[in-house]
């Protein structure tokens, strides 16, 4: 079949990319081949706009066993104990169909982890939506949370934390990012099709027309009125099939039956058949008739790019194939030998006896276009940074405080995380509601901490500084609970990369992430880029979400953020710059202002604080970092979660000192007897420490104003339920 030039455009390929394909093949591509190229060369699969920048990130470290490029990064968190850590985005599908979009997002990242031979044991779900006063937004929030809940709970992987941010720029482009932690149970797997003669076995759900051009097309073109036409490509998740897939794959891995394993995500069968062979320098012959299908009359190209969920491709020695098929049968999931690894370097697709595609694996998987897209610092940045930062004194301090405490970005996210099983595996030593989650790896005493942070507003004002602040806050959160920051994964959510200012934001974020990760010794082990988060020309804030992983000595005390005991001293660590209000929650909520420059980060101060938290771990009884809302909000959160009040000593504290968001700060508590030791530890670490108050009583006594604990709880806990319980599940 010859291909009309208009067709490749419909498939999202440029004329130039089409010419590269013909050049690479030495002929016009067949329909099936063109479809395969269109998904494999899509932004989503090929990272064609981001590659040149991602290359700059630090990826090496003594404890990094596998860096970017595989299903997930692998980090050694204790001698002989390795975990998989990876984040994914499912932004566009979740906007089209929130429940299934979010559910299949969880399914996808879990299969990434599984493809490394790791058992998925924890999820984080960083979410971003528009303001909650909009009915459609409330519908999206409810659907997304319900989708994550029903999928994650059913497959038995706890969701132990995340983020929920509400800001105008996400109204038409919500962000649904999901990070997953896994633990290697028996042996590390690789997505490589080694050994000609080995068989390719497709495991899991049947292949249907649904999801054709799903993520790969949806996630690679800007939204517009025509998005509705893409709706049929919505995926319906099947958590039950995923659960069986997890157990069956882990069992066949530990039995040593698998040579190579990869998940099927965006790109469908085209992806593992080309990537696994390309990595191994082999080829594969695939008999499409062996792919079991959900509907009759599917075209070969449909089978090749269908993104039907809950499928994995395993490469198996011929002698072990029967065992694999029997094992899958016992778990009640379908498995079929669909192909064979061959010595050539080509992916050959046969359908009903005829070859419908014959393409060099490398061309599909590795030789996609790479764009060093033009970038330019937009002129509006200067005006924005010169604009007022919203630091003016509020008419009423306690009203300003109350407004902050109940603002959706700060208020308790309990309404969300109580819908998630966050306890299964009996390893959640610290769950949602604190600075980071602490997970005890199953069957061990090894503990890791995970958290996610992505201050989009800071990045909008200054993408370089914002990215540094994101990494620093994530590291700080992990340090607060008693862990040492080890490595990050990320989700980089941006607008249209074909726009110079978006590419500039992207390159600045990469630069900031690189500098911060290098300084903190936390390499990037992988991640995900989501472009085209833009509707009708309006892009989201540049939003890099940083997923930080930390390891924890078994001897270390797991520190919650809750105040514990009457009479304990509250110690503030770090330096407060009262002018650090640009992009703050105070400026946004009280003055509805987003302008100026974000707080400046002194990396030495950050490292000093992190060192102190490790050093003083046995001296302190709680720790909570200062972030959105500053000192006032962190004090309130620790009081509310601890169900006990506090009193500040210096009554005359300036409002800016209460709401400033200067980084590298935390509040810790300790017994009065230990105060001098704590101050000493701070000095040794090189950070400033000051006793600012005392835990106790039934009210929040700021000196300049006060509030009963009960009404603080109402404002903090009541906010989300009151707005969201109206919506329909």
């Amino acid at each position: 079949m010859t291909v009309t030039t208009s067709l490749h455009r419909e498939l999202g390929l440029t004329d130039d990319e089409y010419d590269q394909i013909t050049a690479r093949l030495g002929r016009d591509p067949s329909y099936t081949e063109l479809a395969m190229f269109s998904v494999m060369w899509s932004e989503h699969c090929s990272y064609k706009s981001s590659r040149v920048h991602l290359k700059k990130l630090p990826t090496e470290g003594a404890h990094i066993l596998v860096g970017p490029g595989e299903g997930a990064g692998i980090i050694e968190v204790a001698p002989g104990v390795a975990v998989a850590w990876k984040a994914e985005s499912h932004n566009h599908p979740s906007f089209v169909e929130p429940f299934n979009g979010a559910a299949t997002g969880v399914g996808g990242i879990v299969r990434d982890i599984l493809s490394m031979g790791a058992r998925p044991i924890a999820l984080l779900d960083p979410l971003r939506f528009g303001p909650l006063d909009d009915q459609r937004t409330r519908y999206l929030v409810d659907g997304v949370v319900h989708g994550i809940s029903s999928y994650g709970n059913s497959i038995g992987v706890p969701t132990v934390g995340g983020e929920a941010v509400f800001e105008e720029c996400y109204a038409e482009n919500n962000l649904v990012n999901v990070a997953c932690l896994g633990v290697i149970e028996d042996r590390l797997m690789h997505g490589r099709a080694e050994g000609p003669g080995n068989l390719a076995i497709l495991i899991g759900s049947s292949t249907g027309r649904d999801g054709i051009g799903g993520a790969s097309v949806l996630a690679s073109a800007e939204f517009d009125e025509t998005s509705s036409e893409k709706r049929p490509s919505v995926q319906v998740g099947d958590p039950f099939a995923e659960k069986l897939l997890i157990e069956a794959c882990l069992e066949m891995i530990s039995a040593g039956l698998v040579v190579g394993l990869q998940d099927l995500g965006a790109g469908g069968i085209s992806c593992p058949t080309s990537e696994m062979t390309s990595k191994a320098g082999t080829g594969m012959r695939v008999d499409l008739d062996k792919v079991h299908r959900r509907e009759p009359g599917m075209e070969p190209f449909e089978v090749m790019i269908s993104e039907s969920q809950e499928r994995m491709l395993a490469v198996v020695e011929p002698g072990r194939a029967q065992e694999v098929l029997a094992l899958c049968a016992r778990w009640g999931i379908d498995a079929n030998v669909i192909g064979e690894v061959v010595a050539s370097d080509r992916v050959e697709i046969v359908s009903e006896g005829t070859v419908v595609a014959d393409v060099p694996a490398h061309a599909l998987a590795e030789e996609g276009p790479v764009y060093d897209r033009p970038l330019a610092r937009p002129p509006w940045i200067d005006e924005l940074q010169a604009a007022p930062n919203g630091a003016a004194e509020p008419a009423s301090l306690d009203q300003a405080f109350g407004a902050l405490l109940s603002s959706p970005n700060i208020a308790s996210k309990r309404w969300i995380w109580e819908q998630y099983d966050h306890m299964i595996f009996l390893g959640t030593l610290l769950g949602p509601g604190g600075d980071a989650a602490v997970i005890r790896l199953p069957g061990t005493e090894v503990r890791v901490a995970i958290t996610a942070d992505g201050p989009g507003r800071y990045c909008y004002l200054d993408p370089y500084e914002g990215a540094r602040l994101a990494v620093a806050e994530a590291a700080r959160n992990v340090a607060c609970v008693g862990a040492t920051p080890l490595a990050i994964t990320n989700c980089l959510n941006f607008g249209n990369p074909e726009k110079e200012e978006v590419m500039w934001q992207f390159s600045e974020v990469i630069r900031g992430m690189k500098d911060a990760c290098t300084a903190l010794g936390t390499p990037v082990t992988g991640g995900n880029v989501s472009f085209y988060n833009e509707t009708k020309g309006r892009a989201i804030y540049p939003t890099p979400v940083i997923g930080m992983l930390g390891s924890m000595p078994g001897s270390a005390r797991v520190q919650g953020s809750a105040f514990r005991a009457e009479g304990e001293a509250i110690v503030l660590l770090g330096t407060t710059d009262p002018s650090d209000l640009g992009g703050s929650e105070f400026a946004k909520i009280v003055h509805n202002t987003v302008g100026g420059t974000p707080p400046h980060l002194d990396m030495q101060a950050e490292k000093a604080l992190i060192a102190f938290l490790a050093d003083a771990n046995h001296l302190i009884t709680s720790a909570h970092d200062l972030s959105a809302g500053g000192l006032a909000i962190s004090l309130a959160e620790s009081a509310i979660t601890g169900s006990i009040g506090f009193e500040l000593e210096d009554a005359g504290r300036d409002y800016r000192a209460l709401f400033s968001e200067s980084p590298s700060r935390a509040i810790v508590t300790c017994s009065r007897a230990d105060v001098t030791e704590v101050i000493g530890a701070a000095q040794r670490a090189g950070t400033v420490a000051e006793v600012i108050g005392t835990v106790g009583g039934g009210s929040l006594e700021f000196g300049s104003f006060s509030l009963s604990l009960a009404s603080a709880v109402d404002a903090f806990e009541g906010s989300l339920p009151n707005t969201l319980s109206s919506s329909i599940g």
């Binding site: 029903s150 709970n153 059913s154 659960k243 099983d421 009996l426 030593l429």
Partner: protein
């Protein structure tokens, strides 16, 4: 000879490893039992763990109760062996008719994973012997369908027989009469929505779950599980 605990694994079960760990910590010897088996190994206690058997598709427990192993579980309890169904296991037991009533969607139409306080309504059972009447237990729930219901006359009968074993102190899901856990008439079968296995370690927030699982171990062999 240590107490043998058979943990039934349905496709979609997901709390079986947690139950295995906890019963081992309590000094018992857990064995996994595949749902498709037709016979139970020689066990003193049968556990139907939490999870989403068959994906909870159609109705929670609706498909699982037809699993071949369920006949053997019936025989085991008729012979006086103890059976506990936790969360999804409770739902299976109700669907199988081994316990009265049915579990509906939570009144709030939301999945709920949270710590709750329970009140012991009947301490004189093999499942609560370590507790006292009215004692408060702190144990987490984790379900979407925990809203237990039965007809009025059945409820009256259950009260009369002391088959209502655990009640919620503050009803989280609309459950009739705040019922959190019930037993069959001869107290060999016990079903509850809360997860005692999640409350067996101080570092996880509570050890009250040991009072329930330990009571069962005491009952079958007084030596272990202390």
């Amino acid at each position: 000879m240590t107490t043998q605990v058979g943990i039934v694994v349905f496709p979609g079960s997901n709390c079986e490893q947690d139950c295995e760990k906890v019963f081992r910590d309590l000094g018992a010897e857990p064995v996994m039992v595949w749902h498709a088996d037709e016979t139970l190994p020689d066990v003193d206690i049968v556990v139907l763990p939490g999870g989403f058997a068959h994906g909870d598709y159609l109705r929670t427990g609706a498909l699982a109760r037809f699993s071949p192993i369920m006949a053997a579980v019936q025989t085991h309890s008729r012979a006086g062996g103890l059976t506990i169904g936790i969360c999804n296991g409770f739902q299976v037991l109700c669907e199988a008719g081994m316990l009265p009533g049915a579990l509906r969607k939570n009144a709030g139409l939301k999945f709920l994973c949270k710590w709750v306080d329970l009140e012991v309504a009947n301490p004189d059972t093999p499942f609560t012997a370590r507790t006292s009447s009215g004692q408060r237990l702190r144990i987490p729930i984790n379900h979407f369908e925990g809203n237990w219901y039965c007809e009025t006359d059945v409820l009256r009968e259950l009260h009369g027989n002391g088959q209502i074993v655990l009640r919620y102190a503050d009803n989280p899901n609309g459950s009739l009469d705040s019922v959190a856990g019930i037993a069959n008439r001869d107290f060999t079968v016990f079903g509850l929505m809360p997860h005692p296995e999640r409350a067996c370690e101080a570092i996880l927030g509570s050890e009250d779950g040991r009072l329930i699982l330990g009571s069962m171990l005491d009952h079958v062999s007084p030596k272990v599980g202390v």
